[in-house]
Amino acid sequence: MRRDRVSTERPPAVVVIGAVLAITIFAIPLAGLLLRAPWSSAWSVLSTPEALTALRLSVVTSLAATAIAITLGVPLAWVQARVPYRGRGFVRALILLPMVLPPVVGGIALLLALGKKGIVGQYLDHVGVHLPFHVGGAILAETFVAMPFLVLTVEAALRSTDRRYEDAARTLGASRLRVFRRVTLPMIRPSLIAGAALCWARALGEFGATITFAGNAPGKTQTLPLFVYVNLEAGNTDAAIILSLVLLAISLVVLVSLRERWLTAL
């Protein structure tokens, strides 16, 4: 009985005001975008070759970055979750770093390391691998910024799985690699999907690290967020708004489709 009364009790007014203001901060910019959208010119903006090129490049680079993040991030998550080695805390901080680092700083760091005159980049340049101002640079910048989302989600899932299922699989004749493939991976599937989707959304929206490290070369490294920025700077507001809405729509679709999985995975 008491529990019922507590749950129907009104929250304090101050809390409600704070919460409403917080929601407003989230909602106002969205409303601005939607209300000012020049819907009539949407088609003409979206059908320009430049916009389509930027959109295609964004899709290709973000998917490539997600693929790399899955291929390398899942093993990393496994090591972080399962191998108690010295320096694990340090590596964890390293993984978290791109999430808190201003992307532009990440871009500069990448440039100093992998740029034409960078500590590693100069050797890469010799063997014909050019990252800055090339598609590869855009993909690498996006991977750097987005991979933590995948690693952390998968690591949390691996930590919470009941490892006795893996024991059971081994007694049935599965090697450790086969156990991972046939038991562990299916168990963490919801988290892997959630992590990959978040990673992809982050890669798709990447701006700072990409423009700093990979540059703003149309058709090579000028992804959609960069294209939006260029249009805004050029006074081309209509195009900037329409393309922003495209990015917003994609983010919303990811969030809505993940809602259920988020709840079950985390």
């Binding site: 006795r164 299922y165 024991d167 699989a169 081994r170 007694t171 049935l172 004749g173 299916p186």
Partner: protein, 351 residues
């Protein structure tokens, strides 16, 4: 086929030191309280926890021996395990759970599924092939787990508390089914349990483990008749009889035990000592069992503060009563008493 092991494992301050031997077709029960080292022992046999010292041999082949550096990985051991809570893979249906081991042993998918279907039928679950583990009852999940463990024809089958996950109502029935399902497997079997009834009903021999050490081994009859320590007496000090059932009446020697339900053929009868009530005069009441006898011995149980009273007669029985009852009834050796038990307290299993 036989298993021969000297298991030495240290886990911090706890150490497990147990020797055991199981013959082909034999069922050994490892009985002990929580924390006795039962699960550690089982994990060592399965290869999930390597030995610190000692050896494990199956059919004379060493699969773990730290002294010689031999350690066979669990997936190469041919040891089947039915885990506590069964651990069926949630992303696979019952059929694919059973086929899992066969697939890992290189059997093509269609062959593995056909074989798995046969195994499911053998445990009476042919209609549940497409069912996900979540939708199975506890008893059904247990049978799928047994079929899964036996699919790869292991030489040793380990069962970890196979009945602990079930509620009281289904336990007795599932225990009976477990017996008949396990009879089809002719390899060595080891059952780990904390429930003396599981051990007495299912096992050919019982090994009692306490704080990592073996305190007694023997057949169920030997252990219940001659518990070698107070601890064992408390753990398995039940009244165990073999008799012949005719409906609800079971003839045990010269006495008749009346059960709550009908049974047939050779049976095992278990009467918990704390279900036995002692009277100086013949108790009245129709559905109760009452046998006359004389007190042959009294023994204080330290831990529970109760007294075990041995009564010899047509049916020799042990009762566990309070010291107050002993005083009130004036029980000493030679006192004539009636031992009474409600039919519902008596457990009967096919022998």
């Amino acid at each position: 086929m036989s298993v021969d092991a000297a298991i030495r494992v240290g886990l911090g301050s706890f150490s497990l030191d147990a020797d055991l031997h199981v013959d082909d077709g034999e069922m050994l029960a490892i009985l002990g309280p929580n924390g006795a080292g039962k699960t550690t022992l089982l994990r060592a046999l399965a290869g999930l926890a390597p030995l610190d010292d000692g050896h494990i041999r199956i059919d004379g082949v060493v699969i773990d021996e730290p002294a010689t550096g031999v350690f066979v990985a669990p997936e190469l051991r041919s040891v089947g395990v039915v885990f506590q809570d069964y651990l069926l893979f949630e992303h696979l249906n019952a059929l694919d759970n059973v086929a899992f081991g066969l697939r890992e042993h290189g059997v093509p998918r269609s062959d593995a599924r056909a074989r798995a279907a046969t195994l499911l039928a053998e445990v009476g679950l042919e209609d549940h092939a497409r069912v996900r583990p979540r939708a199975l009852s506890g008893g059904q999940a247990q049978r799928v787990a047994i079929a899964r463990a036996l699919a790869t024809e292991p030489r040793l089958l380990l069962l970890d508390e196979p009945l602990a996950a079930l509620d009281i109502q289904t336990r007795a029935e599932t225990r009976r089914q477990l017996r008949s399902v396990l009879e089809r497997f002719d390899g060595a079997r080891i059952l780990v349990t904390h429930d003396p009834i599981d051990a007495l009903v299912l096992a050919d021999r019982i090994l009692i483990l306490e704080q990592g050490e073996v305190v007694q081994t023997g057949t169920p009859d030997e252990i219940t008749r001659r518990p070698r320590s107070d601890y064992v007496a408390e753990l398995v000090g039940v009244n165990l009889y073999r008799g012949r059932a005719d409906d609800a009446h079971i003839r045990v020697g010269d006495a008749v035990v009346t059960a709550a339900g009908p049974h047939a053929g050779d049976v095992m009868v278990i009467i918990p000592p704390n279900a036995v009530v002692l009277h100086r005069d013949q108790p009245s009441g129709s559905a109760r069992n009452a046998w006359c006898g004389t007190v042959a011995g009294l023994e204080h149980l330290g831990v529970r503060g109760r007294v075990r009273v041995r009564v010899d007669g047509a049916l020799s029985i042990v009762a566990e009563v309070t010291p107050a009852a002993v005083a009130e009834l004036g029980l000493t050796e030679g006192t004539e008493v009636w031992a009474a038990v409600k039919a519902t307290e008596i457990e009967v299993f096919p022998s």
